[in-house]
Amino acid sequence: HSAVVTIYSADGLHDGSPNWYQTEFDAFTKATGIKVQYIEAGSAVVVDRLNQEKFNPQADVLVTLPPFMQEAAAEGLLQPFTPAGADHIPAAEKDKRGMFVPMVDDYTDFIYDKAALPRPPKTFKDLLEPKFKNKIQYSTPGEAGDGTAMLLQVFRAFGSKDAGFAYLKALQVNNLGPSSSTGRLTELVNKGELWVANGDIQMNAAQIAQNPNVRVFWPVGPHGKRFAVAIPYYIGLVHGAPHPNAGKKLIDFLLSRNAQAQVSRIAWGFPVRQDVQPKDKNYEQLHKMMQGVAVWVPDWKLVIQSFKQDLARYQRETGS
């Protein structure tokens, strides 16, 4: 029966307690009587699982990062649905075919160990210094959403894919190795095992309480502009969802004003509704951290067109 709804989600919003997901799920169950079943995994893994299950879908709602959400849509794993609050979300951020909408906004960043480095490296080039040997690690592009976004960031910072790959190849000397997860790197940076790693602002900000040595920064490329890549958590309704109505209700609920108003306070994320302007300390803090950092929204459609070739080339160039 329809008293349950199942959500497959990329990890990030269910960390710690209280966390935003659990708070909202509880509220949702209280309001509608529908129980929420939650499964989390890496941002690519959830999509892959959905893909494998397409003959017998289990999930109603999918949440993941770009470009995996776009991939899921392209694979036909989603069905169009326009949630109730969708008109308050900027059109540029929504899928043209109505397959998904952003749910929580987030942006890439880098972190460093303030115990080991008095001040953050200024430029990407700085990271090539010998002192960083085996002290740098970033999550692997194509595996983690953050890593994928970083690849795009490097391309843009260096002006072209060729220059970007050349840089990453050079960086490989200092890179400790591939990492499927971004979240794990924070702890390593905090410990001093690593000095620099990549990340996203929502996660890192949440982790700083536990990892006091960690600070965020945005290195600049040869063109000298500091920017972050927008990597919102997208939400969409699964094609063939066993409980489509409950799924729709859950999406509506998570995009509701009330829920969105909690995003920054509980999860250090940015609400996507323009009619929600949080007043909490976290939100202020996030703004302060992001001051002077431009936000770049890649054309994900374009990205996924050449994504496979780019990854193949990445593997060739870096040998990993």
């Binding site: 085996n134 490989q172 591939p178 990492s179």
Partner: protein, 291 residues
């Protein structure tokens, strides 16, 4: 591991045994070989619906795959050897140098099987990491600026972690087989003037061969397929086949390539396993009539 030859004399074939194998075989076929067949089929067919080895060709010629293959073999062999040696030493002491609590210790070691393997890698970063206990202590003691112990993010780190995790697989069959050695044999050997080393070499070791065989082949299979440790140590030089399978399958929607690598991985496991069995049979087991 079930290394018994058919008894020299065939037991009377009062009841033919064949039909009894069928139920477990059927069970395993449905739950395991059917999915396995799908993987192999996918690796051969890919998206196109005609049989071709082109996917294999593409995978096998890529440098990434070749490196991973090499890493997998080297790590598996080294780790298995380490497990055999360590397991044998520990089992010897646990069985034959009785001390209170030996049984509990053996169980404690068993518990390592129950830990998700990545945790050992995790704790190793605390101990042997460049900012780990060992390095920081040494840096303070020796007044050096660079971490002196630096093996964690290499094959050695993975090997050590795997030895820790998989030694129980050698230890358990060894303990079991040691407990079956007739005490009178050791007593007699001792009374004939053999010291501990000779008894170990000539009485205990031969009796332990089936157990070593069993444990060693297990270790070889498990280390070939180890995933969690490699995932967590995640250094440049230690990418192995299972990690590649995971990467390909999960991360890049390249299911066919994943299946090819998985098939290659299975092939590798079975090859190593068979080789190991052959070597042991050739150079040791046959003497005891055990293989």
């Amino acid at each position: 591991m079930t290394s018994i030859a058919a008894p020299a004399i065939r037991r009377t074939s009062f009841n033919t045994g064949w039909q009894w194998v069928l139920p477990p075989l059927f069970f395993l076929s449905v739950l395991f070989f059917y999915p396995l067949a799908l993987i192999v089929r996918e690796s051969l067919l890919g998206h196109g619906r005609s049989l071709s080895l082109s996917h294999y060709d593409a995978v096998f010629t890529s440098g990434l795959f070749q490196d991973a293959l090499l890493h997998t073999i080297v790590i598996a062999l080294a780790a298995s050897a380490g497990c055999l040696v360590l397991g044998f030493v520990l089992a010897l002491v646990l069985s034959f140098v009785a001390f209170p609590g030996a049984r509990l210790l053996a169980r404690l070691i068993d518990t390592f099987i129950a830990l998700p393997t990545f945790l050992v890698a995790l704790s190793f970063t605390f101990i042997y990491g460049s900012a780990g206990i060992l390095n920081i202590s040494l840096m303070h003691l020796l007044h050096v600026r660079l971490p002196p112990v630096d093996f964690l993010y290499s094959a050695w780190g993975v090997i050590l972690a795997e030895v820790t995790v998989y030694t129980p697989f050698v230890l358990r069959p060894l303990l079991a087989s040691f407990s079956l050695i007739e005490p009178a044999q050791i007593e007699i050997a001792n009374s004939l003037g053999a010291g501990p080393w000779r008894i170990i070499r000539q009485v205990i070791l031969p009796a332990a061969i089936p157990a070593l065989l069993a444990g060693g082949s297990l270790c070889l299979l498990l280390t070939t397929n180890e995933f969690g440790i490699v995932l967590f140590i995640s250094a440049k030089g230690v990418i192995t086949l299972p990690l590649l399978v995971y990467d390909q399958a999960v991360q890049e929607f390249d299911y066919t390539t994943a299946c090819v690598i998985a098939a290659a991985n299975i092939g590798l496991s079975l090859t190593l396993y068979s080789l190991y069995r052959m070597i042991i049979t050739r150079f040791g087991g046959f003497r005891a009539g055990l293989v």
